[in-house]
């Protein structure tokens, strides 16, 4: 084994783990990838939290889009997804998503998932925004939790080695420049080196970079940042979905997701004057318009002074029968009761919240990234959802591409097992430096989140974005301070958040048009038919950045 042994290193690797496939992340995509890869043996799954508790899958409430009925069709699901994505999606990825979602749904049911079913023993489906058929499968409003519990059951039946509360801080490469594993910190701050023939990045999203976010504490963009540092290319990072309905109270829990299922079940949006304002923004689809439209509608109402005192609007289900609310929205009912609001009798107060990053690693349908040895699946990837993700497509994404990533990583050839010592050196030097840092990561995090919310949020313009980029870069250069070895991880996380934020802002500056979730108030042209936009993906990597041009269809 060739490993560094430089005498200058204060910190040594405490443990070395070898794997055929290393999966990083324990959300829906990571666990699904590990299950699939385990068919080829030698799988290690590294989770920065207790498995099943960390990712955003477990928090996903609404559902899983899959074509299950004769009256529905994969073609329509595909069209809905492309249209919802403002035709920025990679069509080959959308093909895979829509074609395979039904099979992946069937896997879950076979493995024991407790989805709601109809009287005639079919998986029940409900309508979600931007779709022409009610194709969103659900388990009450705890669909993601149901999936994760099922996936963990299945994972347990494989011989995957699970490392919990071990956090990957950087990818490592072999002498040929291929990704060959990762360096991680365990709970106490000890260093673990994982060596693998193939590495699957399934670290999820990163909207924790925003002040108001639905993401779990783990949604800090680690995967975007690590892959970027390793030289991978990312696309469309400016495409941040602001979910229209996040909670506004209590302040410290702001941004908490209020599921789209509330509107799917018939919830209506009212401003402080009790006007059903969606009539002015999308009279046809109303509350079930796409998320970008609804989020901007709510933000506009609030900005123009028609919001509530707490800066939100009302989301009302009081006209629905109490039994329907209790049966279909139990988590919402319980959460709001905790905060003193009985949604059976009074409206919720909601405002947009940063929810999902549509952009991410550029992948092929086989989930290969732009660097050899590295695969990716789930929210850390880009291209599946284009400029705006449809509700219910993310859970399907985790399963379809989790399975694909696991399969192709499992089939990857054996590598030398050698690691470029310089990369490991770099990581240890960075970690050592945190002990000599000067500023608390908490302070940088707070500053970053506010900067992103205020200058790279729902409505954007070039001057603000440039200010944001300068500030984010300044924050990224601050010397973070670890109070103990256990705090090293926090420093790494904040560093990743800064990187993710800068990727978002850089791409936002690169795209001069309004497209899906990306709104440039200073765009030169008014919003046109996105299908005719001359622009393709934005892209960014260590070596290049830009925006693709494409042939405008006649």
């Amino acid at each position: 084994m060739v490993l560094y042994n430089a005498p200058t290193n204060k910190m040594l690797v405490d443990e070395i783990v070898d794997a055929h496939v290393l999966v990083i992340g324990s959300g829906g995509a990571g666990v699904r990838a590990a299950i699939e890869a385990s068919r080829y043996g030698g799988v290690v799954l590294v989770s920065k939290t207790i498995a099943g508790k960390g990712g955003c899958t477990t928090m996903a409430e609404g559902g899983f889009n899959a074509v299950l009925r004769d009256r529905d069709s994969v073609l329509v699901h595909r069209e809905d997804t492309l249209k919802g994505g403002a035709y920025l999606n990679d069509p080959a990825l959308v093909d895979a998503l829509t074609r395979e979602a039904p099979e992946r749904m069937a896997d879950l049911v076979r493995w024991g998932a407790v989805f709601d079913v109809t009287d005639d023993r079919m998986v029940a489906q409900r309508p979600f925004g931007g779709q022409r058929f009610p194709r969103t499968c659900y388990a009450g409003d705890r669909t993601g939790h149901e999936m994760i519990m099922t996936l963990l059951d299945r994972l347990d039946a494989t011989d995957t080695h699970l490392y919990q509360e071990v956090s990957v801080v950087d990818l490592v490469k072999d002498e040929s420049g291929a990704v060959a594993g990762a360096v991680a910190l365990d709970r106490d701050g000890s260093l673990v080196l994982f060596r693998a023939d193939a590495t699957v990045l399934a670290t999820g999203g990163g909207t924790q970079a925003y002040d108001i976010s639905t993401n779990s504490a783990a949604g800090t963009g680690d995967g975007f940042a690590m892959a970027y540092r390793a030289g991978a290319e990312l696309i469309d990072m400016e495409m941040v979905q602001f979910h229209p309905t996040g909670a506004v109270y209590p302040y410290d829990a702001r941004g908490r997701l209020v599921t789209e299922a509330v509107r799917g079940e018939g919830g209506i949006l009212l401003n402080a004057r009790r006007e059903r304002f969606m009539e002015r923004y999308d009279p046809e689809r109303m509350e079930l318009s796409t998320r970008d439209v609804v989020a901007r509608a709510i933000a506009t109402e609030v900005l123009e002074g028609r919001g509530t005192n707490r800066g939100g609007v009302y989301l009302d289900v009081t006209h629905l029968p109490a039994e329907q609310i209790e049966a279909r929205l139990p988590v919402m009912l319980e959460q709001f009761l905790t905060f003193g609001v009985d949604i059976r009798r009074e409206p919720m107060e909601v405002a947009p919240t940063a929810h999902h990053i549509m952009g991410g690693l550029r992948i092929t349908p086989e989930c290969r990234t732009t660097i050899p040895g590295l695969f990716a699946c789930g929210e850390v990837t880009g291209g599946v959802h284009g400029a705006n993700r449809l509700g219910g497509n993310a859970l399907a994404d985790t399963q379809v591409f989790g399975k694909r990533a696991g399969e192709f990583a499992g089939k990857a050839p054996e590598r030398s097992g050698r690691i470029d010592p310089a990369r490991v050196d770099e990581v240890t030097r960075m970690l050592d430096a945190f002990f000599e840092g000067a500023i608390s990561p908490a302070e940088v995090r707070k500053d970053l989140k506010l900067t992103m919310w205020n200058q790279a949020g729902i409505f954007r313009n070039a001057p603000d974005l440039r200010t944001a980029l300068t500030h984010v870069r300044r924050l990224a250069d601050r010397r973070l301070c670890a109070a103990s070895t256990a705090n090293l991880l926090e420093c790494c996380t904040v560093r990743n958040m800064c990187t993710t934020a800068s990727l978002i802002v850089r791409c936002a500056l690169l795209r001069p048009e309004n497209r899906g979730a990306h709104v440039r108030l200073d765009a030169e042209t008014a919003t046109t038919d996105p299908a005719r936009s001359p622009f393709g993906h934005t892209y960014v990597s260590l070596s290049r950045e830009g925006i693709e041009r494409r042939e405008v269809p006649a």
């Binding site: 939290t49 207790i50 099943g52 508790k53 960390g54 477990t58 928090m59 049911v109 076979r110 493995w111 024991g112 407790v114 989805f115 709601d116 079913v117 109809t118 009287d119 023993r121 079919m122 998986v123 388990a139 009450g140 705890r142 939790h145 149901e146 519990m149 099922t150 963990l152 059951d153 347990d156 039946a157 919990q164 709970r187 779990s216 504490a217 783990a218 109270y249 209590p250 302040y251 410290d252 829990a253 908490r256 997701l257 139990p330 988590v331 319980e334 959460q335 905790t338 905060f339 608390s440 990561p441 908490a442 302070e443 707070k446 109070a483 103990s484 256990a486 705090n487 926090e490």
Partner: protein, 487 residues
């Protein structure tokens, strides 16, 4: 923003001999949760504070801690000024983080049969209430059985029932459940009380698993004896002395004017084993102007059968009891046994209202008794506190009757759920913990309102244990004696 103070348990096993509390002042916003107060401590005072959190919205089960002794999710429980935050009652890794993995490893995984199809709607609906678990382990931290036995924990048994209900599962869930301590649960419902999802593990999992076990002939022999006794005699207690029902008429008229009327459901313990307490209760009713109608054709409520899963002839008992009271046009039925009361309220559908004696006495108001010259403490019967939601009324009554009342932390005595008869060593160990708690109060007498608790705690402590109505009666006797003395 507002300032709150909190005490947080700090412990690093590598450095500290034992945990210690540190006090902090934290700045949080209105409506802040415990988690936000911990964030404030971490960000502004001590970044080395170890605590887990993830989703921040009560869905992942990472952040459970004990606040003032009670397990809660830090992200949903409101932060209170002056609160004490401790880790769950599990092995501590550091500060507020505990080792959850050994318990999670005990939670069974589904073994789907290869040809398994989708369950039917009704099957899904029965599974769902057991499926909400987020594995936060609040229940495991709070469960009394876990303190003294190898019980795997409420949520572990919950999962066994979830799987037993799923037609896709091919595992032997009853065998597993028994191995994991199915008969250790006292059905005290403390797990449900602390569960963020309010999952009724005793009612929807433990008792149901015991029912399936019963159908397979796996009920504990001691429990089978009780069932045989009920089937043969209508009573779960053997007749060793003249019973309460043999000693009283059908109607017991009050001493003075009639202020009210109740039917009386006596229950097997008060009827057969401690009839004197029931007779004391009748005296208290007489004294307070309440007419008591006692149908002599009432039988066992069925609680010992439900708790142990022996429900084959339960419907027969229910019918007899409902008829006994309904036929006499009784509108309110009073219980003085917490177990019977909880059963009639929760497991029956009655055409009459059921109330505990403490509810009746509180509603009508009692003649103040003379205060007994004792320091008394009160033991909350599980089936009264959690089974019926009654805690204030008995305390208020007791305060009227004794010189001094002292609180004692509430915990199951170990008598319930068939544990006293089926797993006596567990009952004894839990009883011993009650003895410690009683001694810590320095009380002269322990007062309770459940014959099972009374009988069992009396076995486990040398401090006298009495029913609340007995205390009231003693107060009246003292009052009468004082009057006589002064006359």
């Amino acid at each position: 923003m507002k300032e709150i103070t909190l005490r947080v348990s700090r412990y690093d096993p590598a450095k500290d001999a034992e945990p210690r509390f540190e006090a902090y002042t934290a700045r949080v916003n209105e409506g802040a949760r415990v988690l936000h107060a911990l964030h404030a401590v971490h960000d502004e005072h001590d970044p080395t504070l170890a605590y887990r959190y993830c989703c921040g919205s009560g869905q992942c089960g990472s952040c459970a801690v004990r606040v003032d002794g009670t397990p809660v999710l830090a992200c949903t429980a409101e932060a209170r000024d002056g609160m004490t935050v401790e880790p769950l009652d599990l092995p501590v890794l550091k500060d507020l983080t505990v080792d959850m993995s050994p318990v999670i490893a005990k939670i069974a995984r589904i073994c789907p049969a290869p040809d398994a199809g989708l369950p039917a709607k009704e099957e899904i609906e029965t599974i769902k209430p057991l499926r909400d678990c987020i594995e936060c382990l609040c229940c495991v931290s709070a469960c009394p059985a876990l303190q003294v036995t190898e019980f795997a924990g409420p949520t572990v048994l919950r999962q066994e029932m979830r799987l037993a209900l799923d037609p896709r599962d091919s595992g032997d869930r009853i065998g597993d459940a028994i191995e994991k301590g199915l008969f250790y649960c006292t059905t005290c419902k403390r797990c449900t009380e602390v569960c963020p999802k309010k999952i009724d593990v005793p009612g929807k999992a433990i008792e149901k698993l015991r029912e399936i076990a019963n159908r397979r002939g796996l009920t504990l022999p001691r429990h089978q004896e009780v069932a045989r006794l009920v089937q043969e005699t209508g009573r779960s207690v053997e007749r060793t002395q003249p019973t309460f029902l043999e000693q009283v008429p059908e109607v017991i008229e009050p001493d003075g004017p009639v202020r009210g009327e109740v039917g009386f459901f006596v229950g097997c313990m008060f009827n057969g084993r401690v009839p004197q307490t029931a007779l004391d209760a009748m005296e208290v009713m007489k004294r307070n102007g309440i007419r008591v109608i006692v149908p002599h054709d009432q039988v066992c409520c069925g609680s010992p059968l439900i708790r142990t899963g022996q429900t084959s002839f339960l419907e027969d008992l229910k019918r007899k009891n409902i008829e006994a009271f309904a036929r006499r046009g009784i509108e309110t039925v009073m219980t003085i046994c917490a177990g019977c009361g909880a059963t009639l309220k929760n497991d029956y559908e009655t055409p009459f209202t059921v109330k505990d004696v403490t509810e009746i006495l509180t509603e009508y108001g009692i003649e103040p008794p003379a205060k007994l010259d004792v320091r008394a403490t009160y033991h909350d019967p599980c089936h009264l506190l959690r089974g019926q939601g009654i805690s204030e009324q008995p305390r208020a009554l007791l305060r009227q009757a004794v010189r001094e009342f002292v609180e004692m932390p509430s915990q199951c005595c170990g008598a319930g759920g068939g544990v006293r008869s089926g797993v006596p060593e567990e009952a004894k160990a839990l009883g011993a913990k009650r003895d410690e708690a009683v001694k810590a109060t320095g009380a002269d007498v322990v007062v309770t309102v459940c014959p099972f608790c009374e009988f069992h705690i009396a076995d486990c402590t040398d401090v006298p244990v009495k029913n609340l109505t007995t205390i009231l009666l003693e107060g009246y006797k003292k009052k009468d004696a004082e009057r006589k003395g002064s006359a």
